[in-house]
Symmetry: none
Subunit: 355 residues, 2 copies
C-alpha cells in the first residue's frame, strides 16, 4: 500500500517474485521451500542454480532463513512483514463466505456484545484459525445511584453509568433493611461516589459513610463492594477466543512445548489488550512474532479495531501460526469489521452481492 518500503535494500522484480512464491508455498505447505520446488511447481522460469543464488541473497538480506544447512528456506518475520505489506495478492471473499457473514450480521443487529462474539466464531470457522473477540474497557463511572428494596435482606442498587447504560447489582445484608435505611445509604453514595473510579475509593470514605449510617453501618460494606464491582467490571474488558483447538492442527504447534508457550500467551489476555491499545485504530494490524517479542516466535496476530466516534470499543482478530493465510484472514476480518462498524453507526446492512 505504502508504495515501495525499503526494508533491507531494494528488491529486484525477480527477487520479489521468488520471495512471494516461497512465502505462498510455505503458507500452503508448512515446510521449508527449496529451489527445485520453485522451478517445477511455482513456474519461475530460471534454473534451480539461479534461484539458489537469489535465495542466498534474500537470506543475506534477512527475508529468509534456513532451519539448517541442508534445508530449504523459510520466511523470517521481516519476510512475512514485507509479504503482507507489498507482495501479497488480496483474497476475494467467495459468494458463500459473504453470504455467511451477512446472515450472521443480520440476525444479531442491536446487541454489540453478542455481535462481536458471533462474528468471532464465524471468523474462526471461515479461516480455520483461532479467532479473538475483544471488548475494550471503558473507564466508566457512576452518574447517579438509586435503589429498590427487594425484601428485608436484599435491595437492588441501580447505577446510572457515565455512558447511557444502567447497571444494577443485588446487595445482600444480614441486618434488616427498610426503605429508610437504604435511601439514606444511597444519598451517601450520591454524595461520595459519583464520578469516582475504583482506585478513588479510600478507606476514609468508607469510614465516613459507616459513621453516617449509624446503627445500619453494616450496610455500607456490601454496597461498596457492589459499587466496586460495577465500576470495575466495566473496566475489565474481556478477550475471548474461539476455536482454540484449531491451533492443534498446525504442525508448528505440534510439540507440547510449543503448545505450552502458545497457550500461556493466550492466557495473558492483557497482552492482547496492550496490543489493541498500541494499535492503529483505523486499519488492520498485523503482529508477527519473533524471537525478542513476548510473542511466540512462530505465531501471528491479525486484528482490526472497532471504533465508534473515534473511540475503540473492541476488536476482532485472528491468532495463528505466523505461516498464516494472511490474505484470506485480512480480507475476512476487514469485511466484517467494516460491516459491523456500519451497523453500530446505524447505517443499513447492505445486501449480499455488492463487493
Amino acid at each position: 500500500m505504502s508504495g515501495e518500503l525499503i526494508y533491507g535494500g531494494p528488491l529486484s522484480e525477480r527477487k520479489k517474485r521468488i520471495l512471494r512464491s516461497i512465502i505462498d508455498a510455505h503458507i500452503a505447505m508448512g515446510e521449508p521451500i527449496g529451489s527445485k520446488y520453485l522451478v517445477t511447481s511455482a513456474e519461475i522460469p530460471f534454473s534451480s542454480a539461479t534461484i539458489r543464488n537469489e535465495m542466498a541473497e534474500l537470506t543475506e538480506m534477512g527475508y529468509l532463513e534456513q532451519p539448517h544447512t541442508s534445508a530449504g528456506r523459510v520466511p523470517t518475520q521481516l519476510g512475512y512483514r514485507f509479504y503482507v505489506d507489498s507482495l501479497m495478492e488480496s483474497y476475494k471473499l467467495t459468494a458463500t463466505e459473504i453470504v455467511a457473514l451477512n446472515n450472521m450480521l443480520k440476525s444479531k443487529i442491536g446487541e454489540l456484545d453478542t455481535i462481536i462474539q458471533s462474528a468471532s466464531k464465524l471468523v474462526a470457522n471461515l479461516t480455520n484459525y483461532t479467532s479473538v473477540a475483544i471488548k475494550a474497557s471503558e473507564r466508566e463511572t457512576v452518574r447517579a445511584f438509586s435503589h429498590m428494596v427487594l425484601d428485608e435482606h436484599n435491595f437492588l442498587m441501580v447505577m446510572k453509568m457515565s455512558g447511557e447504560n444502567v447497571k444494577t447489582k443485588q446487595v445482600h445484608t444480614d441486618i434488616v433493611l427498610d426503605e429508610n435505611n437504604v435511601s439514606r445509604l444511597m444519598s451517601l453514595f450520591n454524595a461520595y461516589c459519583v464520578g469516582v473510579t475504583p482506585e478513588d475509593i479510600t478507606y476514609a470514605t468508607i469510614v465516613k459513610m459507616e459513621s453516617a449510617m449509624g446503627s445500619a453501618a453494616a450496610l455500607v460494606n456490601p454496597a461498596v463492594k457492589a459499587f466496586y464491582d460495577a465500576v470495575a467490571t466495566s473496566t475489565d474488558s474481556n478477550v475471548r477466543f474461539e476455536g482454540v483447538n484449531k491451533l492443534l492442527e498446525y504442525p508448528e504447534f505440534s510439540s507440547v512445548d510449543q503448545l505450552k508457550r502458545v497457550f500461556s500467551m493466550i492466557e495473558n489476555k492483557e497482552d492482547f489488550l496492550d496490543m489493541l491499545s498500541n494499535s492503529d485504530r483505523n486499519k488492520i494490524n498485523v503482529f508477527i512474532g519473533d524471537e525478542e517479542s513476548r510473542f511466540a516466535s512462530n505465531s501471528a496476530f491479525i486484528f482490526r479495531p472497532l471504533t465508534v466516534d473515534g473511540k475503540v470499543i473492541g476488536a476482532i482478530g485472528v491468532f495463528g501460526p505466523s505461516r498464516m493465510d494472511y490474505s484470506k484472514v485480512i480480507s475476512t476480518v476487514e469485511y466484517l469489521t467494516q460491516k459491523i462498524t456500519g451497523i453500530i453507526e446505524g447505517r443499513a446492512l447492505p445486501e449480499p452481492g455488492e463487493e
Copy 2:
C-alpha cells in the same frame, strides 16, 4: 458409602490395601506401579512375590491392567471407580484452602452467574486441574415485575425470577414515560406474564395489553422484548472452562493426538450438559473415561450439581486425567457446592474454621 459393592468379585482386605496403594501411588506419580515399589515405599508387609500374585489376580478381576508385559500395573476404569466408591481416604481441606473458598464466597453473594464462575476459577487454582462451570438452562419464569423510571424515555424493568435472583433490563421507548404509564404497564405484566415461558407469549396477549394501555400502547412492545430476553437468556445454558492450559502439564496429555481428542471433547459443550442432566442431582458425580464411551479414555470428569428447591441450576466440576487426585477434588467441589447452595437458599455463610 454404599457399603461393599461387589464389582468383579469380593476383595480380601489385603487386595484392597494393595489396590489402594497402587492407585494412590499412580495418582501421585503418574507411572505404572510395580510390586517392588509397593514393598519399599508403600509399606505393604509382604514380599514382592506375594504382591505379584495378588496383582495378577486384581488384573484378572479387571481392576488393574498392564500397558505391556514388562511394565507395572495401572488402574482400569473399574479400578478407579472402586477406589472412588470405597477405597479412597477423604481429603481434609487445609485451613488456607477453606479461607480462600470462604473469602471468595463472601465477596460474591447475590450474583449466581459470577459466583459459579469465580468458584470455578478458584477450583482450577486449588486443584490444578481444568475446572468446569455449568449454568444450566433453567426454564425460569418471572415471579413479579416491578420498575424504576430512569428518565422520560427509559425505565428499568425489574423481574424477580422464579429462583432467588433478580434480572433487570433497561427499556427504551420513543414516547414519553411517566410513573403512571409504567406502573400501569407493570401491573399488566404482573397480570399476564407471571409464570410464563417464552413460548407462552401469544400475540393475543400482546394485543390485549396494548389495548389496555390505550395511548401508551407503544410501551408494550419494547417491554415484551425485554421480558422475552430475560426469560430466553436463562434458557441457553452455558459451559465454561477455566485453566484449560493446565491439561498440558499432565503427561497423559503430552502427545498432540491425545490433546486433540481432549480438546475436541471440551469443544462439545453439549456433552457436558448431557452428563449433567443424566447425573444424580444430590451428590458428587464421577465420570471416568474408558474405551467405549465418548469420553477420552484417560480422562475423568467430576462434578456436583447445584440445586435449588430440587431443581438443577448448574454445576461446578473438574476435568482432568483419570489419574486424578479424586480425594482432594471431591472434597473441594463438595465443600464449595454445599456452601453455594447454602448461600442461594439464603442460609448465612458460616465462619471459616468450622468443618
